[in-house]
């Protein structure tokens, strides 16, 4: 594959391939020295037009474990603040020999625009409300790992997954629903109508405005981060009211099945969508998500730059 920009672009086949490779990467990561020379001499450039320290660090750690060189192009101190265009920036950094751009931008579609101006591979680390494919991949990996499943095109069949919160403005929701349903899971988006996508007919998902109705019947509860600026747009009355309807507290959580998984892409808004400490339940997979992020991002970089090579063992 040339780019990892969206789940639909790599397709179920690509998702399964990356998940399989990620297993080998997880084996690498469990060694005393978790490093292999697979990508020696290749440069991975982080291009974050929007701050996200945890995602950037996860990618850079993944790149280093494969022995790639990493460059962090910090936009806040760059010439983009001096009027340089996006295109000039990409062409300049590209000319320095980048093999992969890991791109985060506040506007949907930027990873596609950028790929017109460089031969490097693009990994979308989040574009607007659109996609964040490595998040969805690591989430699939986490569900599979917790359920003891092997990567295959229908490996999540029979599972029902609720994505709870502001899916309208969420790239995580869009990526996850496509990845989960691509692997056979049944996805329900839960939230007030103002925070659901205006039209869901292009996906195979259902929607619900009642968390309480959905909780007892799902295998995974995937909580989204509720952003405070949504209050200013009159999408919900206030955070307290949002928490009352869609926040997860111990009482609500106790109504889930004993094997239901709790997930969250982070960073959590404690006291808003998360009203109890998830580390208090063994059903929480939130820390696993972070750990698996490294293996999955290693797999993505490996598939882009060394696909066909023998996976390091």
């Amino acid at each position: 594959m040339k780019h990892v920009r969206s789940i639909s672009e790599i397709g179920t086949e690509g998702v399964v391939r990356i998940l399989r490779t990620a297993r080998h990467m997880e084996a690498v990561n469990s060694r005393p020295v978790p490093k292999v020379p697979a990508l020696v001499g290749r440069t991975v450039v982080s291009l974050f037009f929007e701050d996200s320290t945890r995602t950037r660090i996860s990618f850079e750690t993944a790149a280093r474990r494969l022995s790639a060189d990493t460059v962090n192009f910090s936009v806040s101190t760059s010439s983009l603040n001096k009027g340089e265009s996006l295109r000039d920036t990409i062409e300049t950094v590209s000319a320095m020999g980048a093999a992969v751009f890991v791109v985060r931008h506040r506007t949907s579609g930027v990873p596609w625009q950028i790929s017109e101006w460089t031969d490097a591979s693009i990994v979308n680390a989040g574009d607007g409300w659109h996609q964040h494919p490595t998040q969805a991949l690591l989430d699939c990996y986490t569900v599979m790992a917790r359920r003891g499943l092997d990567p295959s095109p229908e490996c999540l069949a029979g599972l029902r997954i609720a994505i709870v919160g502001d899916s309208r403005h969420s790239r995580v929701a869009r990526s996850c629903l496509e990845a989960f349903s691509g692997l056979g899971a049944e996805v329900v988006l839960v939230g007030p109508a103002t925070l659901l996508p205006p039209d869901t007919t292009s996906w195979t998902v259902s929607t619900s405005t009642s968390l309480d109705d959905v909780l007892p019947e799902v295998d995974v509860v995937y909580m989204l981060r509720m952003q405070r600026e949504r209050m200013n747009e009159a999408l919900v009355p206030d955070l307290a009211e949002y928490s009352r309807r869609f926040g997860l507290d111990e009482t609500r959580w106790s109504r889930t099945r004993p094997d239901t998984l709790l997930m969250h892409p982070g960073p959590m808004n404690r006291g808003v969508e998360m009203m109890f400490d998830p580390s208090s339940t063994t059903q929480s997979a939130i820390i696993d998500q972070v750990t698996h992020g490294i293996s999955v991002r290693m797999a993505v970089l490996f598939e882009l730059l060394a696909s066909g090579d023998e996976v390091p063992s």
Partner: protein, 436 residues
């Protein structure tokens, strides 16, 4: 200056047959001096134009172009825009007022008209603002601008949001003999909007521009016309429901007219799936159902005119992220080809209906019917378009006369191409190439 156009078929408002009637014609000193049966002898002329396989019509009139001068000459000038217009078969264009400074004073509209005259490729008719600085707060001086040759007033680029102010604009201008034209968009519903609100925008994670934002203002203005007894022209309608509202208003006898842009009846919101800002336009590209309704509206006369909303933008501006890239697409040089391909080749409309929507209907709305959209007969002003309705060509942005390259039709094969354009008796386009 005199010229002869030989071998074509004349198609005008008086034509009986849709294919036109074969005739040769001679033009001298800006007027049509002879219309004769093919091959008949004509007095000598300075120039002879071959019109075989072509239709000869009154020149096209574009109610809606952005020529960017003054203020945004990086994207277009009145000269380059005029050249694009002439190549597209237009002998008159209405220049929209959202320049910098805008068309709210005599000095600006005089400048625009004069730059058009200097280019000499088509008549550039400035529109005027409805409100000062297009800010939607105070009315622009309609009568003063009218005295400077402005017949159509609009705040295009934005709609007049305040219903009271719009009511007053209609009442105040009602007896002046001008046309008020509205860009229909209730902006509280389109904050940050990039594309049509629907399943595609939901999938792409882009803020949506709901059809309702247009339809609410169409509905409001129809009711304001009913209240005030004034008339109104609707710019670039894009939704099925807007067409229905206008159809009903016309049936009620209101003096409403409407236009549609070729991109709105040929392209859908799905084109944004590749995130190319060339497909960002305001109002946005919509759905196949809207396209069908717009075509039906054109065919049954609900929509009077095809207007391009030609909106050039320099490449660097269109290379920005979608939220920052300005909306708009080129239209002048592809309007005929898109219209014939989408409307005539499909059997929805006759050639004569399409020419009506490109020439005499908009000439009437723009109040230019004394010199544009006239019958092709002796004594009439020689503002003429000669086009081959069956010639196919592929759109290559690098060959366009516009200073910008933001055509959404790159690589598309269109049927129907302008061969010659005659403006005030001068062949400004000959064999598809503009003079100078």
């Amino acid at each position: 200056m005199s010229l002869i156009v030989r071998g074509g078929r004349i198609l005008d408002a008086n034509a009986h047959a849709d294919s036109g009637r074969p005739a040769d014609l001679r033009v001298a000193d800006g007027l049509i001096t002879h219309v004769v049966e093919p091959g008949r002898e004509l007095p000598a002329a300075d120039q002879e134009l071959d019109a075989s396989d072509c239709v000869v019509t009154s020149g096209f009139v574009d109610l809606h172009v952005h020529l960017r001068e003054p203020g945004r000459e990086e994207s277009e000038t009145i000269e380059t825009g005029s050249r694009a217009a002439a190549k597209g078969g237009f002998t008159a264009v209405i220049a929209m007022p959202n320049t910098e400074p805008p068309h709210d004073s005599r000095i600006v509209v005089d400048f625009v008209r004069e730059q058009g005259r200097r280019a000499g490729l088509c008549e550039v008719v400035p529109s005027g603002c409805i409100t000062m600085d297009r800010a939607g707060e105070r009315l622009a001086p309609f009568a003063e601008l009218q005295a400077a040759g402005v017949h159509l007033f609009t705040d295009d680029g934005s709609g007049v949001q305040d219903a009271q102010l719009m009511r007053r604009a209609l009442e105040y201008s009602r007896d002046l003999g001008v046309t008020l034209a509205q860009h229909c968009e209730v902006v509280s519903l389109t904050v940050g909007a990039v594309m049509h609100e629907g399943s595609c925008c939901s999938r792409l994670g882009l803020p949506g521009w709901p059809a309702l934002a247009e339809e609410l203002m169409v509905h409001r203005d129809i009711e304001l016309c009913r209240l005030t007894g004034a008339g109104m022209h609707f710019l670039h309608l894009s939704t099925a429901r807007s067409v229905e509202l206008v159809r009903a208003a016309k049936a009620d006898g209101l003096a409403i007219t409407a236009e549609v842009a070729p991109h709105h009846f040929s392209l859908t919101d799905e084109l944004l799936s590749g995130f190319d800002p060339v497909f960002k336009v305001n109002p946005p590209l919509r759905t196949p159902a809207d396209i069908a309704a717009l075509k039906e509206g054109l065919a049954d006369g609900t929509i009077d005119a095809i207007a391009t909303d030609h909106a050039p933008h320099a490449e660097r501006l269109k290379e920005q992220p979608l939220d920052q890239a300005p909306p708009g697409m080129l239209g002048l040089e592809t309007a005929l080809g898109v219209s014939l391909t989408e409307l005539v080749d499909t059997g929805l409309m006759t050639l004569r209906q399409v020419v009506a929507a490109l020439s005499w209907n908009p000439a009437r709305i723009a109040r230019l019917a004394d010199r544009h959209g006239r019958p092709v007969s002796v004594g009439e002003p020689a503002n003429l378009t000669v086009f081959d309705p069956t010639a196919t060509w592929e759109v290559d942005p690098s060959t366009l006369a516009s200073r910008s390259r933001n055509t959404p039709y790159r690589g598309r094969v269109l049927r129907g191409r302008v061969r010659h354009t005659i403006y005030e008796g001068v062949a400004v386009v000959v064999d598809g190439e503009a003079i100078q």
